[in-house]
């Protein structure tokens, strides 16, 4: 079943550019893939460990700014930008995680929220180094100058495939982690921290791995986003970005593999689907979020799974 689903998913995602010609829809699909990876990356902490990380946009932003600054200040726009974004983001996560992940209670959430606010202030006041309030325009297109190069990512289709490659990598990494001994340790920590520690699970170590993995993935998305859009601004650290990433995980279904993917895609497409409502668009958007949280606290994937189980149970009774 999983193999078939993966095969169908791969076929659909790889062939989409053959039957979607509109640039607008390609943009939505690319942003959908970016958001799905962001949600997958946060889900490791929020869904599997159960730690409320409220500053995930920080890592998205660090990745975007790292790639953009290397491009603006050094004129580079190759794999080094992506690698640097990944390294700088995970290093920042380690600096925050080492003290914060040792704490119990709401402190981790508060620290992560504080971190993103501090970052936004630093970027706003960073002068020409960060571009200040105006941000950094003119981020170069991603390019490969190695073997077979030079190859510049200049079209939406190229960015679509880059985003989809990252999406599948994130999904497979997440599936492999969750189904490993590490994944069982994550669930144990989420379900009962004291019991988990009493049987030899080093909660700090396993939380740190999830936090670094999530931050690294978010950093990579940020870097790709910067090269795709060609511009980064301090708005990337906005509270709204944080809320949006958390909402994507919760709406889709936290602690599930497919939930964040569904959440990421819905939260990207919904504002566009609601354009017909013009002035009432954001009102409808808010009502949708409220309805999902009220009627499907386990997220859309949880709602569908529940309905499926009930249907299956009913059909067994009829037989």
């Amino acid at each position: 079943m999983t193999f078939v689903a993966t095969l169908v998913g791969l076929t659909i995602t790889l062939t989409i550019p053959l039957w979607v010609q509109s640039n607008f829809y390609m943009y939505i699909l690319i942003m959908g893939a970016f958001n799905a990876v962001l949600a997958i990356s946060l889900n490791l902490m929020l869904g599997y460990i159960g730690e409320k990380s409220l500053g995930h946009a920080a890592f998205y932003g660090i990745g975007a700014y790292t790639a953009a600054m290397i491009s603006s200040h050094f004129g580079l726009s190759g794999p080094l930008n992506l690698l640097a974004a990944f390294v700088v983001t995970t290093a920042c996560a380690a600096i925050i995680g080492i003290p914060a992940l040792r704490l119990r209670g709401p402190y981790f959430a508060i620290v992560t929220l504080g971190f993103v606010l501090i970052l936004q202030l630093l970027v706003l006041n960073g002068g020409s180094f960060t571009g200040g309030p105006s941000g950094l325009p003119g981020v170069k297109r991603l390019a490969w100058t190695g073997i077979g190069g030079p190859y510049v990512f200049s079209t939406d289709i190229q960015y679509y495939y880059a985003a989809i490659a990252l999406f599948w990598i994130a999904l497979f990494v997440s599936i492999a982690a969750v189904n490993s001994k590490m994944g069982r340790a994550w669930l144990a920590i989420r379900e009962n921290l004291d019991l988990a520690e009493s049987i030899g699970i080093n909660a700090f170590y396993y939380k740190m791995i999830a936090f670094l993995m999530g931050a690294g993935l978010a950093g990579l998305v940020g870097a790709l986003y910067a090269h795709y859009i060609g511009f980064v601004s301090p708005r990337i650290f906005d509270t709204w970005t944080n809320v949006l990433i958390v909402a994507m995980v919760i709406i889709g279904g936290e602690g599930t593999i497919i939930g964040p993917v569904v959440g990421g895609l819905i939260m990207t497409a919904l504002p566009e689907l609601l354009r017909f409502a013009e002035g009432y668009r954001m009102l409808l958007y808010g009502l949708f979020l409220l309805a999902v949280i009220m009627f499907a606290p386990q997220g859309i994937v949880g709602l569908v799974a529940d309905a499926w189980h009930k249907l299956k149970a009913r059909s067994n009774v009829v037989r």
Partner: protein, 236 residues
């Protein structure tokens, strides 16, 4: 095996454990008894790293382990259960045990789990979600999780609390099967009948201090014990 020397724990102005010393030999079953608030659970918390002592020392095979975190102590073979039911409620019994076997690096995570399920009469519940089980069964699942961690020293915090006489009688038989594993046990419980059927030695605590120690028959005859458990007037 385990040595506790002059252990002390203060919570603000309250002295929960006061200059407590005792040893436990490998294979022994030691019961910690005493009235509510006498410091029994605090002693377990101090030994297993859930609380940091205000003073004193805990040694395992002569090595100082005072203040080590719980996961590090579990790696050394010290595993505990908790006073309040503590399990992975949304998982099946077997999944609970698999997580309990986290430290098993043999590449066969299910190794030995069948035997634990049999010893604690849990085999028929192995695919049931833990939270759906009766209270008495859940308490046995807790012990099974601890056993899956392959302890050398097992600390049981009121495993029979809230059980009816029939359930606690069954637990005695199940624990006797567990004892065949030659595990060293420290047992905290209020149920004297339960404790005396399992333990080789008892320590009576009152207000954090050790006031009596010896084989169960001797300790239970001590006037202080009768006074604490039955009351002064009745004893007089």
């Amino acid at each position: 095996m385990l040595s506790v020397e002059h252990l002390r724990k203060k919570f603000g102005g309250v002295v929960a454990v006061d200059d407590l010393s005792f040893d436990i030999a490998r294979g022994e079953v030691l019961g910690l008894i005493g009235p509510n608030g006498s410091g029994k659970t605090t002693v377990l918390n101090l030994i297993t790293g859930f609380n940091e002592p205000s003073g004193g020392k805990v040694s395992l095979e002569g090595k100082d382990i005072t203040g080590k975190p719980p996961y590090a102590l579990a790696k050394l073979g010290i595993v505990r259960t908790f006073q309040n039911t503590s399990l992975f409620a949304r998982m099946t019994v077997l999944e609970n045990l698999r997580i309990g076997a986290h430290l098993n690096d043999s590449g066969k995570p299910d190794d030995g789990l069948d035997a634990i399920l049999e010893e604690l009469d849990l085999a028929k519940h192995q695919h049931a979600e833990a939270k759906s089980l009766a209270y008495g069964v859940q308490r046995r699942v807790e012990i099974a999780i601890a056993l899956a961690a392959r302890p050398e020293l097992l600390l049981l915090d009121e495993p029979a609390a809230g059980m009816n006489p029939e359930e606690s009688g069954e637990l005695v038989e199940q624990l006797k099967r567990v004892l065949a594993r030659k595990i060293t046990i420290i047992l905290v419980d209020h149920n004297m009948r339960f404790v005396t059927r399992i333990c080789n030695r008892l320590i009576l605590l009152n207000r954090g201090q050790k006031i009596a120690e010896g084989v169960p028959e001797e300790v239970l005859r001590l006037p202080q014990v009768i006074e604490i458990y039955l009351g002064k007037r009745r004893y007089a």
